[in-house]
Amino acid sequence: MTGKRNAIISALVLLVGRRRRKPREDAARIVPPSPPNQAAELVVLLLLGLSSLCAIGFILVYAFADSLPDVTQLLGLALGLALLFLAAALVVVGRELVPTEELAEAYPPHEHPHEQRLIAELTDEAGTRFTRRRLFKLGLLGAGGTLGLAFLTPAVSFGPLFRVGDFLRTPWRKGRRLVDEHGRPYKASDIEEDNFYLGFPEHSSGSEKEQMAASLVLVKVPPDQLNLPPSLEGYDAHGILAYSRICTHAGCAITLYRAPLFQPDEPKPALVCPCHYSTFDPATGGTVTFGPAGRNLPLLPLYEDSAGYLRAKGNFDGPVGPSWWGVRLWKAQP
């Protein structure tokens, strides 16, 4: 028993006890002697102790995870502080305890000057077989340049350069019915003022459903407020308007509809994109009233059939989706 105790005590003494290093008596030291910095040593020990405490805290929090609120945050805090204290301890060691000195070493003089001159001459003379040096340089430049261009070509996939067709295709044809997200066809009487509805083409297959132009937002504007430009005359069905749901700025889905309760006092009705707050006026054909969008929200012409269902009368008045170079030169295609 006493043997074990003695062993523990001696181990502790060995671990904790401070041993002053005996100065070496022989030849001069490499590192110049500097006075010991006991305060810095103490700070380092303290920081290391704090780091261990935090690490122990991490273990404890993990052990009692079920009975603590905000476990993730506490775990992160404990681990973060442990690493921070450890880093601080190392910083203090580096700045205060490790001796530093700067030494500049001069470059040695050139060796074998004669041989070096010979090598330079050799490389000079080796090129005399080439008679059309300039042409060679040009050829090399051409090969390197075209190779670089080849590497850059895949970047074309980032935007439409050759295949704009995909961006113009829409699933809308004359007579196609509008349905909601569950596939139920919309009747004109379903659409109420001060509300907005999502619309899709009826019986759309997978690839059609994925097209950007498939999703619509439907709103109803009272007849006295409807003020469509002449080019969009007749696009509405008794005040019901179907706009593309994709913002013309960056292609986000329009999810906000501003429907004022009391018109004289409050902001006008508007379709708003939540990404950059592009704001479109539904009463005037989707004109931009605020935000970074550069062109109108495309409008799909509608009519009400004899059974009261809403059907597309044609295609959008412009390309659907975010803007790209030359977007205004094209028209939406069925």
């Binding site: 509300n195 409050e266 704001t279």
Partner: protein, 241 residues
Amino acid sequence: MRPVLTISIVVAFLLAAGAAQGSPGTPKRPLAARGYHLYGQYCLRCHGGNAAGARVAPSLRGVGALAADFYLRTGYMPLQHLGQQPRRQPLILSDGQIRALVAYIATLGGPSIPKPQPWLGNVSQGLALFTEHCAGCHQVVAQGGYVTGALPPPLDRATPVQVAEAVRIGPYVMPRFSQHAITNRQLDSIIRYVEFTKHPSRPGGWGLGFLGPVPEGLVTWFLAIPALLVLCLLLGRRFRS
């Protein structure tokens, strides 16, 4: 001559005002009659005589107890400045005064105060419906957000009845949802979800207002990165000297 003219002008004005107001008179029930007087005190200046509306404020005929209860119990009304968005404010009317005013507005017709039953709703269905109809503006954990020209409020203090009322009214620039757009049963689910969001779980870290990546990005760019830069500069200082 002068006093006679003045008196006749005053009399003519009073007559004209009386004619413009019409004469439905005070309601018969005592509570509604008290509300009628309170209406004259707090609401008449903007909403006009007999709640018929004016240039600056809408008519209250037909809005019903539903709307009156919503606007008065949230503190949206009485509005402090015309033209501003109504905000949730400390109530200046007592519970009894609100009940009287609601009773008076109810005599002018319109829907009654809804009785939602959120315990019949379904949280997961409520999340789907909330995402579809509400999250665009109110943000998916109902913390509120922005729309150009208005501020959709957070729903942390909205009671189930107030949520049910707001959906049917569409206050300020909020869309109005009829029974056809959102059925009462669906509304129960939405309310159950809104109640759930009042104590959201935060498994991934502190919520920062639950507004999504924007505040998180702000913390990264304006707090974390400057802190790291300052640390780097402090560490490297000795070697520069």
